[in-house]
Symmetry: C2
């Protein structure tokens, strides 16, 4: 099957583990099932992120599944780091609501990946916390679209309570697969109960269609010839939702009923329910703690005593201590916190801000073996590198020099520079010096030959 995972969101609700660069789907807090390689001690980490978990589950259900992630530029490095190179990535140049996004990834599948117009694709959020039966259902959804059951086939989740959080799908009958009668917006609890009594299902944001169907509709609304052309025009596209542009105009819609377990891990409360261990990282509990979960990404210990129904989360960006139920109200508090991205995962490795002063910033840079950062310069700051581990070479204004632990390289304003890690990788402490230090002060250049 072809499957598209929609990977968006800034994940403010999971602060401080998510930030402007790392969305919630990339946080590694789920215990990965042991593999043979683990038994042989080949792996150090036993945790996987939501996106890794979902990808693994898809491959378990259908090892030939073609997976494509529809995302923004800022997530590409992390996706490559976490899923490798076999996954397809369709990159939105900017955010333009769901219809342009789904058209873009559909065009990507057809024009770039060569998927036939007569083939179906399933579109699904990147972060459902579910069992393998959910992906079996996705496969069935794909087969229904492929066999022409309807122009659009949705997944309807059997509701477990009259939730106000979801839209409802009202099917025409009670069969496993049914035509859709109507859609209902997110209701209040009382109305939700009426929908449920009428056989309504939660709309989980999952649907399948043949490429031709969406591209035909796209050509009616957008003037473009192929993927490259669409990409060029993307910034100028009207913001319009898939529901408004497609679903509301379609009479031939089917729904597949899914009655398995399904969790939307959008808040700390629901996320910790899915954790198999009570802690990730250096966390100590005394024996009077109950229903406490903690994630510690800092290098120092956390000690928890006498707490009940609490989540603790610590990262280089900040520390959250919250009653689990209260944690769902986090967003306005996170909005009020002044943002300074303190860590980031890049294709070449990672960086972490370790000190901030008025006219300087100190960063630890970790390069993966053989990788390098961009060849670049700054206009408002000098930099000093001190290599703390590994070997490699630096290029400074075109001059190449081997470096090892203890070597120091100084780069004045305007000087072009990069560092390339050797076989063991390389770590360095970068001291940035100047007024107005910002990540945007960066000019990139071609690597010198």
């Amino acid at each position: 099957m072809n499957i598209v995972l929609l990977s968006g969101g800034s994940g403010k609700r999971l602060w401080p583990l998510s930030n402007d660069i790392r969305s919630k789907q990339f946080i590694k807090i789920f215990k990965r099932p042991e593999t043979e390689a683990d038994a042989e001690g080949e792996h150090k980490t036993h945790y996987e992120s939501m996106v890794q978990r979902v990808y693994r589950q898809i491959k378990t259900v259908d090892k030939d599944a073609e997976v494509t992630i529809a995302t923004s530029k800022s997530q590409v490095s992390t996706i490559r780091n976490q899923l490798g190179n076999s996954v397809g990535i369709s990159v939105e140049p900017c955010r333009r609501d769901t219809f342009p996004a789904i058209v873009l990834v559909t065009a990507y599948l057809h024009y770039i990946r060569g998927v036939s117009l007569d083939e179906a694709v399933v579109v699904c959020p990147v972060d459902p916390y579910v069992n393998d039966d959910y992906f079996e259902a996705l496969k069935r959804l794909w087969e229904l679209a492929q066999s022409g059951t309807a122009n659009l086939v949705l997944m309807g989740i059997d509701p477990t309570y009259p939730s106000e959080k979801y839209g409802y799908i009202i099917p025409k009958d009670k069969q496993q697969v049914s035509k859709v009668d109507t859609f209902k917006e997110k209701p209040d609890a009382e109305t939700a109960q009426k929908y449920i009594d009428a056989g309504g299902l939660w709309n989980g944001g999952v649907f399948a269609y043949k490429l031709r169907y969406v591209l035909d509709r796209a050509h009616q609304l957008i003037d473009f010839t192929n993927y490259a052309d669409l990409l060029n025009k993307y910034e100028g596209l009207k913001k319009i939702s898939f529901d408004y542009a497609v679903v509301e105009h379609e009479n031939d819609i089917a729904v597949l009923r899914f009655a398995g377990e399904w969790k939307d891990l959008g808040t700390w409360n629901t996320l910790t329910e899915a954790m198999e261990e009570k802690a990730v990282g250096d966390v100590r509990f005394n024996d009077t703690c109950s229903n406490v979960h903690a994630i510690n990404e800092l290098g120092v210990p956390i000690l928890l005593m006498g707490l009940k129904d609490v989540v603790v989360s610590a990262s280089p960006e900040g520390i959250l201590v919250s009653d689990k139920e209260q944690s769902s109200y986090i967003k306005p508090y996170v909005d009020a916190i002044k943002k300074q991205v303190m860590f980031a995962e890049k294709s070449w490795g990672s960086y972490r801000v370790i000190d901030i002063e008025e006219n300087s910033m100190t960063v630890k840079v970790t390069l993966k073996p053989g990788h390098r950062m961009n060849y670049h310069s700054h206009e408002k700051r000098d930099e000093v590198w001190t290599v703390i581990s590994g070997t490699g070479k630096t290029i400074v204004d075109g001059m190449v020099q081997p470096v090892k632990q203890g070597d120091v390289v100084t780069m004045a304003i305007g000087c072009k520079h990069t560092v390339i890690a050797g076989k063991q990788g390389l770590q360095l402490i970068e001291v940035q010096l100047g007024k107005d230090i910002t990540v945007s002060d960066k000019k990139k250049f071609e690597m010198p030959q």
Copy 2:
């Protein structure tokens, strides 16, 4: 009056704010009363430590009080930073129980500070959380000793409940000042109630005597001539408590009853009761928190939601989140944490560890204006300094050089080095490189002429 403050303890119970270097009495968490200078905006910090608070209170009650701190070497820099140069400091070369410690400071007062043998002194712990009336009582205690009421005059605190935490003093009568009948060790609650019914008072560890009295007893038990001689012999002295060596042999003891407020701030629970604000540092609360106190010494925000009766404390050493009552059981958990001193206050400024790797450590060093670190070398590590603010000069193997922001100095193993801050102070990032990096790898030298 002459007053000696006994300043000891590692303060494990107040982890992570106290560490092997910073004891609880030096943590700045008490709101200082506003002064005229504050009103004019001259002061930035409105917090004071326990030792600063006690010192301020003593001076309020008796502006001519001669204050001496009896302490260990590791606290001298911090005491000078917090109390300045007018306070006397008697330094124990090593820990030898309370009798040697009290003899040492008594000898210091007589032989070094020239206090007459016929003058009295009050000895008191450095960390009672009390009002000014307590220090009025201390003054009265001193006057009682001075006027020869008894060889030893104790303070007895009117008990508010049958505590198992304190020893009890049973007076002969119910007068404000009474002779002492007997002393009782820390009892169980039932026995404590009996002592209280018999008029017993808590022993708060405060007493007054004339110097001659303690020095006479000292000469009976220890062979020494003067302060310098005692200091030389200190390490060889027998460990013996003041109670065992002096109090048990003395029949002429009086007790002064004190009925004012008195708190022993030894645990997070009692400490937070004394905090006038619910937070120190960048801490945000949602409106469902109640009776929550937090201290944040990290540079990132802490967000607290839906908590009740909880204390949160974060420092570069770790993070504590505890139910207030449970926090008194912290000690074994702190004992189990591997110690790495992550920050320290020195006479010349401060340092903070900002990164630790297997074969490197990165430290931020802040030098006060005009101050310098020791001239020293290391046997197992190279170091690289990058100046991030201020100006000054470095001396490396005798060679003096001016430095400013952005300058880099590299020091190989064995190389002698120091840095002297200019008028604005100086900050630098120090990268330490080598195996087995420890604070003990340090050889000190005389400054070159």
